[in-house]
Point group: C2
Chain length 255, copies 2
């Protein structure tokens, strides 16, 4: 919270927000909605594919960072390593007051998730970092509370649930056990990595996740994910817009 | 290679090396051997636990970066996210000519590995990033050639093999299939992440891995790992010393 507090202890309104989105399909509608423009002078070093979009919206400076296309394979740089790196580099370069990690996720219908649902994460943890040595096991899981936004979730009537993160789109038995142990309703490939970096650097972070596929349903994840990506991205985009409108003019402690 | 080439195209000797080591137990003997001292003015931002040791050894400036103790759990910050972050931040801050990622690893006896063996990685890839969508699957595996050092491996008579990286100390069936597909003899928790960042930023990187435990053996990995850690760390330390001595006075293309 420090970043958004004045030295006198009276909180000032949030002015600088950083939106981290892993896929171009997810990022582009948000870029369009807020009329963000791509920074021709990247704040990032030569060689990295990370793209910064920025603009002014109402009283907010918005930076949206997309990790870009992998230089070798040409696909979006999804997953924990890229999202950790861009979050780190963007915090250093842009000093945001608040981070919003937005993206699509898988959801468990047994825990109340449906395709198109928007969740705010209360907690983030990893489900594919198993280190069966005392204390290292807890480090591997890396469970962290997201920044709490009770007013935001009430006002926008958003679902709140725990998020579990791993670097695979599919789910093994061991992943499933860990996700259950993490008490998670939604599963993504970036959240806990963004939470880790934000926590190290003491920047409040919130997580807006839209369900593209039902993990405990009948359809293969990859197929359902691709089928629903465009429609769910529209729902995500709308949710991010509402979240940003709610944030505008408020201080961190009013969220 | 660009970093170690003069503008005239004539290569100068390597002067600045960055050693990335994930665990304190692995790092401390190397710090002692080269009489490195901890930098009291960290080049890294406030909040991160990353530790820089540095010193002059023969004609080389050596920086050794250890990701430090996790602020929450107090254990070494092992795994891909931490090692990617410190590699990124250290390249930015220290502009090394060459990166050496040194550490312990599991080995497959069926592929010729024994406890205490030292391997130089020819290739690095991930085994726990399964994304079953065309091209994303290749991005997930993220196979990369390490910088080739034919003279070094010949002179020091080191084994060369492929390395597979994942964020778990144990190995599931799916991990095993992916490790087999990666054609790997050694398995660690950092290598491919260091290789990814080094490749993005075009810094040559080599990987020195010492086998602490036999994955396809009878003993539980965690137990065997802890049992052999101290002894194997001594072998690793000796190998790193030989590698650094070999590097001293040579240009990148002479390795």
């Amino acid at each position: 919270m420090a970043a958004a507090q004045s030295s006198g202890g009276v909180e000032r309104p949030i002015s600088n927000i950083l939106i981290v989105i892993a896929m171009q399909t997810e990022a582009q509608p948000v870029v369009n909605k807020f009329e963000l423009i791509e920074d021709p002078h990247s704040p990032f070093p030569q060689g990295v594919p990370w793209v910064r979009y920025h603009g002014k919206y109402k009283d907010l400076n918005i930076n949206l960072i997309w990790p870009g296309k992998d230089p070798i394979s040409g696909v979006d740089s999804v997953g924990t390593i890229s999202s950790a790196l861009v979050t780190y580099a963007a915090i250093q370069a842009l000093q945001p007051d608040l981070i919003i990690n937005a993206g699509t996720a898988g959801g468990f219908k047994a825990r109340g998730a449906s395709v198109g649902d928007i969740f705010i994460a209360s907690d983030c943890a990893f489900h594919d970092r198993r280190i069966p040595i005392p204390v290292f096991d807890l480090y591997g899981v890396g469970s962290r509370k997201a920044f709490e936004t009770p007013n935001l979730v009430k006002e926008l009537d958003l679902k709140v649930a725990k998020l579990s993160t791993g670097d695979s789109l599919d789910m093994t038995e061991q992943d499933e056990s860990s996700i259950t142990a993490n008490d998670a309703t939604v599963k993504d490939m970036e959240g806990a990595a963004v939470a880790y970096v934000a926590d190290l650097l003491k920047v409040p972070a919130i997580f807006v996740k839209a369900v593209t596929d039902i993990i405990d349903g009948d359809k293969p994840t990859a197929e359902e994910f691709l089928q629903n990506l465009a429609a769910v991205t529209a729902a995500l985009d709308l949710a991010v817009e509402k979240v940003v409108n709610f944030i505008n003019g408020k201080s961190i402690s009013e969220l």
